[in-house]
């Protein structure tokens, strides 16, 4: 259920109260920023994406029915905005790359802790080698820790489509490693 304070701010925002909408932005911009940091690690682009989410949310505020928490509704918009950004990158032929040497240097077996920022950048670049649909499903499953139902809700796909897409994306990722001549367990 949405928070009562959110519903009140949404109602006032719909009536044109910009202060009410500012309150909603301030309440959720950090969460949306966190979601979109998985979609772009460029600070300028990241901020623009967050901004786009709140502009889009305002323009479709009339369609928010209050059946789910407002933050879930915003996260769905953020996922769509991020996914469109990735599709735009593909059209511009911008792809991430990661060498096998970089992966091999990671201390998986030694128990040594990897820096969180470094780990996030590596996962971003690794998944960035996949087409947007595969990248999206694995980002939601691995980084956002969404289960099948949550992934379906965030993407607007069916649960079976999420399962199939996850399976395909994992295979594609394994194949990327196999292409480098490395055996994947």
């Amino acid at each position: 259920m949405p928070l009562a304070v959110d519903m009140e701010d949404i109602r006032q925002s719909r009536n044109g109260d910009s202060d009410a909408y500012r309150r909603l932005i301030e309440r959720y911009q950090h969460h949306i920023g966190q979601v979109l940091w998985r979609f772009s690690r460029d600070r300028r682009v990241h901020e623009e994406l967050v901004q786009d989410v709140f502009v889009e949310a305002y323009l479709s505020l009339g369609r928010y029915r209050g059946k789910a928490p407002f933050v879930h509704w915003l996260s769905r918009i953020a996922t769509r905005v991020g996914y469109h950004y990735w599709k735009l990158l593909v059209r511009r032929k911008k792809r991430e790359s990661l060498t096998i040497e970089e992966w091999d240097r990671l201390p998986f077996d030694s128990g040594e802790k990897i820096d969180a920022g470094q780990a996030a950048a590596l996962v971003y670049r690794l998944l960035g080698q996949l087409p947007p649909r595969d990248r999206l499903v694995l980002t939601l499953r691995y980084l956002e820790e969404c289960d099948v139902a949550e992934t379906a809700q965030r993407t607007g796909w069916t649960k079976s489509m999420v399962k199939v897409q996850t399976w395909r994306a994992r295979n594609k990722l394994r194949n990327l490693f196999k292409q480098t001549g490395r055996e994947i367990k």
Binding site: Q29, E47, F54, K113, A119
Partner: protein, 89 residues
């Protein structure tokens, strides 16, 4: 030796603890929305403007046809000349 999927899960778990950069988009969003709203108002006024233009054009052509029909049907000049010739007789 851990498998690839576990390696990815480990890395993702570590990545989740990263703090994203803080954003403050409130002012910019509200500025964009103000501009967008005035653009939307202008857009919503545009159809009304076209309705006004079309109805004026329609009214002008109906009036033109009406005047032509009146002259064709009533022929007021002929009536005047007939009256003058009747008086002259």
């Amino acid at each position: 030796m851990i498998n690839f999927d576990d390696q990815l899960k480990m890395l993702a778990a570590r990545a989740r603890s990263e703090a994203p950069p803080r954003v403050d988009v409130g002012n910019r969003v509200l500025t964009i929305l103000e501009t967008e709203e005035s653009r939307l108002v202008r857009m919503s006024e545009r159809p009304l403007m076209w309705v006004a233009v079309l109805s004026s054009a329609l009214a002008a052509s109906v009036m033109f046809i009406a005047v032509i029909s009146y002259y064709f049907q009533a022929n007021p000049l002929a009536e005047i000349s007939e009256t003058i010739s009747w008086v002259m007789q």
